[in-house]
Amino acid sequence: MTYEQFMDKATSPWMLKNGPDHDIVLSSRIRLARNLADKRFPTVAPSEELEEIMEFFQREYEHTPYHDNETFHFVPMSQLSSIEKRVLIEKHLISPLLTKNKETAASLISTNEQVSIMINEEDHLRIQLYDPGFQLEKSLKKTFEIDDWIEEKVNYAFDESRGYLTSCPTNVGTGMRASVMMHLPALVLTKQINRMIPAINHLGLVVRGIYGEGSEALGNLFQISNQITLGKSEENIIRDLEGVAQQLIEHERLQRGRLLENLGTRLEDRIFRSLGLLTYSRIMNTKEVAGRLSNVRLGVDLGLIKNVPRNVLTELTVLTQPGFLQYHAQKTLTPTERDILRASIIREKLHEVE
């Protein structure tokens, strides 16, 4: 098995299970930043030192069995084409920054794609773990187990008063960034989200769109994460984040109910019109797809659409990204060519489930 297995499918195996509150929270993610005690951080270290670190992690952790027969595959950035890198970024298995350090960076990716340990990104290690639905506490526990497993063979840069030492002061302490990916179409439609984001920011949490640039959230998908990493335990950070996410879930459900009540057929029309466009269109850009998929997902959540599984919608979200389309076509495509291929892939997928 090589790294190509990570590119064949748009949906990662872990996504196929339904997690708690999966109608609103698509995934939970924990990321830990860690550094080796006696090495310079990747931002300043010479290439030879970074190559040594990369070799060490390949030697010690590649194909080493971990929990439930999971093993890690070593994926060096130097061996990926630019389209392949883009695919892994779109699947959130690696970060854009990792691909920039191409000769000295790699990632250890678990077979089920739940865990990715990025080597020589901004810090020596970035351990990230995804879970389906809303379950940050479980995700944290699992991430800590991986952290301990890695630590059996390395000495982390840690200071009693400052905690885990990281390249950037924004990560020092726990080195942890916890986040949830939420689908909030009703809060966007009722414009309530605009009022809520500043309030959430006040609590030391960050809200941002997952796709799209700046404040624009394509497909009504938002990521909520902690900003503070110092002076609060991981458990407390997560509890605060969970509290806010819980509030958002409740408000979103309430507004969904109200929309259904107040708009009735008009809401149904909006949802089914989107399904129709996705099923029959010949040209579709990323932005339009994101909006239509969001409407259809809402339709599925409200029980209006019964024959489209949520997994197919998740798959289409990733499958219709520019990197994936070009990987599929095995060549670089112009934006127009992408829009045509995108529409054709969506049609194909939706006709399969009909």
């Binding site: 951080f41 300043v44 630590e151 200071d159 009693e160 020092v172 942890m176 503070i228 110092l230």
Partner: protein, 182 residues
């Protein structure tokens, strides 16, 4: 005059637009102007990195003002391991290695405090590596010394904080013991 866009709020911004020699006037409120992209704000497109660098520099000006000339060597602080200087750190906003944290230690509290809502000390996971418990015990001993000095100087408020920190550390040692036995 009310805003031409929302018709509700008063128009506080007035634009003249000239397209193909034809002039149109636009009177809008600030909210609509922002929404319709008539205004660009300098803070937009400001990266977190820019923001951080700004914070650090703000901090350094303070340090420089306080210490004046006899303490100019503040600027010469240089990490013995990675050779990063404090001004380089302020410029990039990134540490070079773990040692930097010790080298620049005296100047980090204000930076961390700003970035982490007033927090400067870690509360949370501790590496499980061997000797972790010894580290804690050493730290407790250090804190006890500090506590005694503070009590001698009648700095009771500060002493209470240190006392709480000792308690926290002692419970951590206990947790570790329990963990070892399990």
């Amino acid at each position: 005059m009310n805003c031409q866009k929302c018709q509700v709020r008063p128009a506080t911004l007035h634009f003249k637009q000239v397209v193909n020699g034809k002039q149109t006037d636009l009177h809008v409120c600030e909210v609509c102007a922002k929404e319709n992209g008539y205004m660009t704000y300098p803070e937009e497109g400001f990266s977190l990195h820019d923001l951080l660098t700004g914070l650090f520099n703000l901090d350094s000006s303070k340090i420089d003002n306080i210490h004046e000339s006899p303490f100019q060597q503040v600027k010469e602080l240089k990490c013995p391991t990675c050779k990063m200087t404090f001004s380089q750190f302020k410029h990039t906003g990134k540490f070079g290695c773990a040692q930097c944290y010790h080298t620049f230690s005296d100047h980090l509290d204000p930076i961390f405090s700003r970035v982490h809502s007033g927090n400067t000390r870690h509360l949370g996971k501790i590496p499980k590596r061997k000797g972790g418990k010894l580290h804690l015990k050493k730290q407790i001993a250090d804190y006890r010394k500090r506590l005694n000095t503070l009590i001698e100087n009648e700095a009771f408020e500060e002493a209470a904080v240190v006392r709480d920190e000792i308690k926290e550390l002692e419970s951590k040692v206990k947790e570790k013991k329990d963990g070892d036995e399990a």
